[in-house]
Subunit: 339 residues, 2 copies
């Protein structure tokens, strides 16, 4: 697998006798935009006088009127030497933003730059109410905040009962690939999430797909649900779906409508035996069976079964992230979507 | 001014007989990280059972414990052909994120790509509690949300009384450079802000400066305050400060300590006569006088005085943004910081 990745990196160095540690990233364009959202109306609130900056000039603020809500931020990087036949959309997991695909906690490229270097037009977004998409106080229920230690076990860095506030006393799974020394840095990536915003999130993703696809979509964790919902809504535009440690698969009543789109599902290590993840994984495996019976194409890979061991839930920031990215890249190329 | 900008763009095309409309952006690296923040302790809350995804497996969540708060997200782009002698840090205004320096509402490059193309190692951040920095419910007071029409007049796109919910009936200043047709797109960039978080914001900026500087810092609007506070805290590390439409200047009691750092202050059109902005601008002009008397170097430019007309508060996304960026670029080069 390492040899495959190195081979791809070598091909990027056109005309150079020796590959450097890091070749330049050449972009024909980069930028960002917001899609989706809607205007809502608020009425009957009193006018406020607000000092926006301590010592500054007070400003009158009328809280009544229309508000922009539920839009989504998208940042794009378009390589000069485009090799992906379609754009690649990267959708992050719950309580996070697109930043989870950027630099790993502790340093090193995660998957955004990997796939840009492989020649994919890459679109990385923050789901509605996360990150640069902004949020409003109009969502139902409370925002959820994860305590500092919570993801250690939830994301299978260590087994149940392994968390300890004392860094020296934390235990991770044997051979763990997550950069455990940078766990604190990882937790700085966290953002709140609501539990009532799925419809708004999916609506914005559909608008993104309508704008930039046909495409390949990569989803992680919570966005597994969103990826399948959007595929079901736009089966003609999502030409491949890569679901990394997805929560749930698609709707079993809609498998016939999506059978033309190849799907790759990837689980890291220890998912089969984990008290919570074993159920999540089994749901995905069962769904895959239903889809296959209906004539669909879905490959489910447990990484340890192909010799890739020690991966946490956050595969894109694990130490061997390039190895797993290479596996995904090969799958996309084998489906005729890249070179 | 247009000729100056074209001249710089031409120089980027090494060995090419003809400049293309858009030359590739070559980066030796890109990525992101979070700086700053701290851990706080929450106690005495009951354990919750939460279904994170409709139909998903319930997860127990203990809200007690430690929480990561007040960190800051930073994204960086390092050009292959580095010409800026120091990194350039871009800090956004209130109710916005670093996205305000990226693509303009309606399309076209704002200032991030402009300065990357000029060869600056560029660091663009989201202030604490904005965008990809995340937020928590631990801040004092309520988050502030701007109604849809509010910035039209606050950001001097149109004069007082010119807003109308009916797009056809809105009036902008004569010769307005802001892309008024894309006002709705601009409003999708908005995020909430608290009015009690200045100290946390400044602390994270200081940590960023300690990590990547000496540097030049560009601030806009609300971050004008932050730029001066950080300069006062680290006068040896902030080697130039470009304050675009800043709210307030620095501390008049600290001017002696920052007199070695050259400062450029830029105001757009209609600032002098606007009922609110005239006071904000005068505060900046008065501060500049105090700093100059103490031996400091501060250039205050009202753009109309140098023939650049029609700029709103959001200069980096105005139609003539490249012209103003060219003026800033020349100022930085004249200070020996670029070429």
């Amino acid at each position: 697998m390492s040899r495959l990745v190195l081979g791809c990196a070598m091909r990027l160095v056109a005309g150079s006798p020796l590959a450097q540690a890091k070749d330049p990233i050449q972009l024909r364009d980069m930028g960002s935009f917001h899609v989706g959202g809607r205007l809502i109306e608020i009425t009957g609130q009193p006018i406020k006088e607000v000092v926006f900056t301590p010592g500054g000039v007070p400003a009158k603020m009328d809280p009544n009127g229309r508000y922009q809500v539920e839009q989504m931020y998208v940042q794009y990087f378009l390589p000069q030497n485009r090799k992906g036949k379609l754009p690649l959309l990267l959708w992050h997991g719950g309580g996070l933003t697109g930043a989870s695909y950027e630099t790993k906690p502790g340093g090193g490229d995660a998957w955004l730059t990997y796939f840009i270097r492989q020649g994919w037009d890459s679109y990385i977004s923050d789901a509605v109410e996360r990150g640069r998409s902004g949020w409003t106080n109009t969502f139902k229920g409370d925002a959820v905040f994860l305590p500092f230690g919570d993801p250690w076990e939830r994301f299978r860095i260590g087994p149940p009962g392994s968390w300890n506030d004392d860094k020296e006393k934390r235990v991770s799974y044997p051979g763990m690939q997550f950069p455990t020394d940078a766990y604190g840095q990882f937790m700085k990536q966290g953002v709140p999430r609501w539990l009532t915003t799925d419809d708004a999130i999916v609506a914005a993703y559909v608008e993104l797909v309508d704008r930039v696809c046909p495409c390949a979509v990569m989803v992680h964790s919570q966005s597994g649900t969103f990826g399948f919902k959007v595929l079901e809504a736009r089966p003609d535009k999502v030409k491949a779906l890569v679901a990394v440690e997805p929560v749930l698969g698609g709707d079993r009543n809609k498998v016939a409508s999506i059978k033309s789109t190849p799907i790759l599902v990837v689980y890291g290590d220890n998912a089969r035996d984990h008290p919570r993840w074993s159920k999540i994984r089994q749901g995905g495996v069962d769904y895959a069976g239903v889809l296959k019976t209906a004539g669909g194409t879905i490959d489910v890979i447990d990484l340890p079964d192909v010799g890739i061991k020690g991966n946490s839930h956050m595969i894109m920031m694990d130490k061997n992230s390039d190895v797993v990215a290479g596996l995904i890249q090969k799958w996309l190329v084998d489906r005729g979507l890249g070179e």
